[in-house]
């Protein structure tokens, strides 16, 4: 099948049409003029990650010291905790309602 090699190897060249280079360079200059993408905020990410780890470590230490059941009991008996949880739940629900409404409007 040497003929197959010849056919596939030989192909009519395609010369660029007039204005091809100019079109490419216009597109390239548009790209060059774009704002560079925002870099990922690694510093804030690291601070947030460290805070999460510290919080998880604190909770784990607290639970291991007093036991899970006792810890729940302490939290439940602390004055104001129930009200705080209720306010947080209501706030989250209201925020979700507004978010859904904003999406629907958009």
């Amino acid at each position: 099948m040497d003929e197959l090699d010849r056919i596939l190897g030989a192909d009519d060249p395609l010369t660029p049409g007039s204005g091809f280079t100019a079109r490419v360079m216009t597109a390239v200059r548009d790209v060059a003029a774009e704002e560079p993408p925002l870099p990922f905020p690694w510093a804030r990410f690291a601070v947030g990650l460290a805070a999460c780890v510290a919080a998880a470590f604190s909770i784990a230490s607290f639970l291991s010291l007093v036991g899970a059941r006792e810890a729940l009991q302490v939290v439940a008996e602390t004055p104001g905790v129930g009200e705080a949880l209720m306010v947080a739940a209501i706030s989250a629900s209201v925020a979700q309602v507004f978010r859904n409404r904003a999406r629907a409007d958009f």
Binding site: E3, L4, P16, A32
Partner: protein, 198 residues
């Protein structure tokens, strides 16, 4: 973003590869005139490869343009120890494959030697040969992607196995296997079309 003084090529930049790498470094720093020189040097190759994949002039130009834009975006990641042509061809190849993924295959033109213009016998033979060559090329484009890409690039690179494998990012043995199986499949399909000896 261009620097007017950057068009002067230093004396030590002599080979085409050096020129490409020098311009690539300038373009990576935002010099669009340096990139224009790269486009001027490589547009025939990129367009030729696009043409072999789609056989449609308008689409080939669109795909080649897209490949150059992607290359410009990716220039900061280009390592000067690699050949610019290899790197650019790899980007173009990915661009073309993505562009052609959902496109219907090139239609196979029936062999119509009888419709050739009336003329000398040699002229008629020439027309029939051209039609047959187009059928063979269209059948290559109908092969599964891994065989099609390997075969198109292999012949585009003038049957240079090592360079083709480098661009595809596969081992030479893997490429040879794909070429062999692709060719077997192509021959089977050509036989089914009544072409036993192209």
């Amino acid at each position: 973003m261009t620097s007017a003084g950057s068009t002067t090529v230093p004396a030590e930049v002599e080979t085409p590869r050096d020129r490409d790498n020098h311009d690539a470094a300038l373009a990576a720093a935002g010099d669009t005139e340096a990139f224009a020189r790269l486009v001027a040097r490589w547009q025939d190759r990129m367009l030729g490869l696009a043409w072999r994949f789609c056989r449609d002039r308008t689409m080939a130009e669109d795909m080649a343009q897209d490949a150059f834009v992607r290359a410009f975006r990716a220039l900061p990641r280009f390592r000067a120890d690699a050949a610019f042509g290899t790197w650019l061809t790899a980007i173009a190849l990915n661009t073309y494959r993505t562009a052609l993924r959902d496109r219907p295959p090139v239609p196979v033109v029936p062999l119509l030697a009888s419709h050739a213009p009336v003329g000398a016998a040699g002229q008629t033979d020439g027309v029939a040969q051209r039609e047959m060559a187009e059928i063979v090329r269209a059948q290559v484009l109908r092969l599964p992607d891994r065989y099609r890409t390997a075969m198109v690039l292999y012949y585009f690179q003038e049957q240079n196995v090592a360079e083709t494998a480098r661009i595809l990012g596969v081992r030479v043995g893997t490429l040879k296997g794909r070429l062999h199986r692709g060719r077997q499949l192509l021959e089977r399909r050509l036989r089914a079309l009544g072409i036993t000896d192209p």
